[in-house]
């Protein structure tokens, strides 16, 4: 299974390593034509402003919009911001693949970054495995609202931190920086089913 990781800027190597460990063939994606050769795409953590500028400059915006209409995408942190329909603090363009509103840097600055353990929703454990999940939040966004049709798979208190709509997944935390492989397994499942 060939899975791309958008590799313009961010912690794309950590995602590639995780996907390879799980038996997928990870491809670093920097050009539009590469999107035709992969079954799914990860939008990694990083700076969403930097990624937006490079996507624009390198004319990746349209190929990416086409891709989200066809194949599964997993966005983490900055990647989740790129997948959202509405972005605030400040407002910026996004791919709109998931019907949610997301607020950038919503916990605050790095001083407010944290590692927390959450108890997964039942649907998440049914589709993967049970047990608490360690979530790494780094200058993370908060999902402020989701439309009906968006499933919340993980919560931290009242806030959704992993959501699913159709073929796409968005997480506000960095699963790629822990040893828990469940999020990437869930994503590869979806890629396998197309």
């Amino acid at each position: 299974m060939r899975v791309g990781v958008l590799s313009l800027q961010g912690d794309f190597e950590a995602h590639s390593r995780r996907l390879s460990d799980l038996g997928a063939e990870a491809v670093e994606v920097r050009y539009g034509h590469q999107l035709e050769e992969i079954g799914g795409l990860v939008l990694p953590g990083g700076e969403s402003t930097t990624n937006l500028i490079l996507m624009e400059e390198e004319r990746l915006w349209e190929p990416l919009q086409r891709f989200v209409g066809q194949r599964p995408v997993l966005g983490t942190c900055a990647g989740a911001i790129l997948l959202a329909r509405d972005v605030s603090n400040p407002s910026q363009p996004s791919l709109g693949a998931i019907a949610m509103s997301i607020e950038r840097n919503a916990y605050g600055r790095q001083a407010d970054s944290s590692i927390r353990t959450v108890e997964p929703e039942r649907e998440f454990t049914e589709r993967t495995r049970g047990g608490p999940l360690e979530a790494v939040f780094i200058r993370a966004p908060i999902i402020r609202s989701v439309d009906p049709g968006v499933t919340v798979l993980l919560r931290d208190g009242p806030d959704p931190i992993l959501v699913e709509q159709g073929r796409h997944l968005a997480a506000t935390f960095h699963a790629e920086l822990t040893t828990d492989t469940r999020l990437h397994e869930l994503f590869l499942d979806k890629v396998g089913r197309g």
Partner: protein, 294 residues
């Protein structure tokens, strides 16, 4: 163990900056230009290194008002510099909630023997290094990101290259050293055995390894990335050039596409004049910034 949760969070932010460009800025306008050009973070300081060299005098932490202005202007992470060993400046920067503190040889050192005990701070630190031993000593003190020192404010990339090659080669040597000889390596590197063993096993530093000190062109950025840098710091190179916005964008592009000759060519077109630059080999020993700290 040094890889506790506190350390993971600090190095985790550095992970997010990989493949990006961190730009020195001296006011809010420059910070906005940097963000609009695609910087992943800005470094707030009073004067860029080239001016610190020119003006002389004591170089200290930037003014609070300036750092606040910059923090209020951009949404990307803001870093600021403290003098080597000046833990009180670091306390101020932490209270100000900057995202990263650079214990930097660019400022006038406050302590010639002791670096800051960075483990005591929740705020992550980046430190400069010229070789593996220096990098591991800083990590042992709690640095969560290493950057080559290079020679700041020179516009001459030769020292950044020397330091990146040195660190990479010393790491490579450790990976082929027998376990029972690592204690001697630790002695020679003047670094803790625990860290030396970790590097020998993993073949990399336990924290991201960025490049700094003399990067002035897109080609310079491509060069250091090709030598193994995971991101680049650009100090005087942008705002001492003729067209900072264009040059900043070009360096961002060259950092992402560092191994693509066509993209690199695009990045190098129509840039205007670079910063003037100083040939480091012609500098007097006493003018070097990289020899500050140990």
């Amino acid at each position: 163990m040094f890889l506790d949760n506190d350390f993971r969070l600090k190095a985790g932010l550095a992970e997010q900056l990989k493949g990006g460009v961190i730009m020195d800025v001296t006011d809010a306008d420059q910070a906005r230009i940097a963000q609009d050009a695609g910087a992943v973070a800005v470094m707030a300081l009073e004067r860029v290194p080239a001016d610190i060299r020119k003006d002389g005098g004591v170089a200290r932490m930037a003014s609070i008002r300036k750092i606040r202005d910059i923090m209020a202007t951009v949404s990307i992470p803001v870093m600021a510099k403290a003098r080597i060993g000046h833990f009180a400046e670091a306390m101020v920067l932490q209270a100000l909630k900057v995202d990263y503190i650079d214990e930097s040889e660019v400022l006038t050192p406050a302590d010639e023997e002791h670096h800051i005990d960075k483990r005591a701070f929740p705020t992550p630190f980046v430190c400069g290094a010229r070789n593996l031993g220096e990098a591991l000593r800083r990590i042992a003190e709690g640095a969560a990101m290493i950057r080559t020192k290079g020679e700041a404010g020179s516009g001459d990339v030769v020292e950044a290259v020397r330091h990146m090659r040195a660190i990479r080669e010393q790491i490579r040597q450790l990976t082929v050293t027998e376990r029972n000889a690592l204690s001697t390596c630790a002695k020679n590197l003047q670094a803790p055995l625990e860290l030396v063993e970790w590097v020998a096993k993993e073949g990399r530093l336990p924290v991201p390894n960025f490049s700094a000190g003399g990067i002035a062109t897109p080609a310079d950025a491509s060069l250091v990335m090709s030598l193994g840098a995971e991101a680049v710091f650009v100090g005087s190179g942008i705002f001492k050039s003729e067209d900072p916005s264009r040059r900043a964008k070009a360096i961002v592009k060259a950092t992402t596409f560092f191994s693509d000759p066509d993209k690199l060519l695009e990045a190098c077109e129509d840039l205007g004049e670079p910063m003037q630059g100083l040939d480091v080999s012609k500098l007097d020993e006493s003018e070097l910034l990289q020899t500050r700290g140990w």
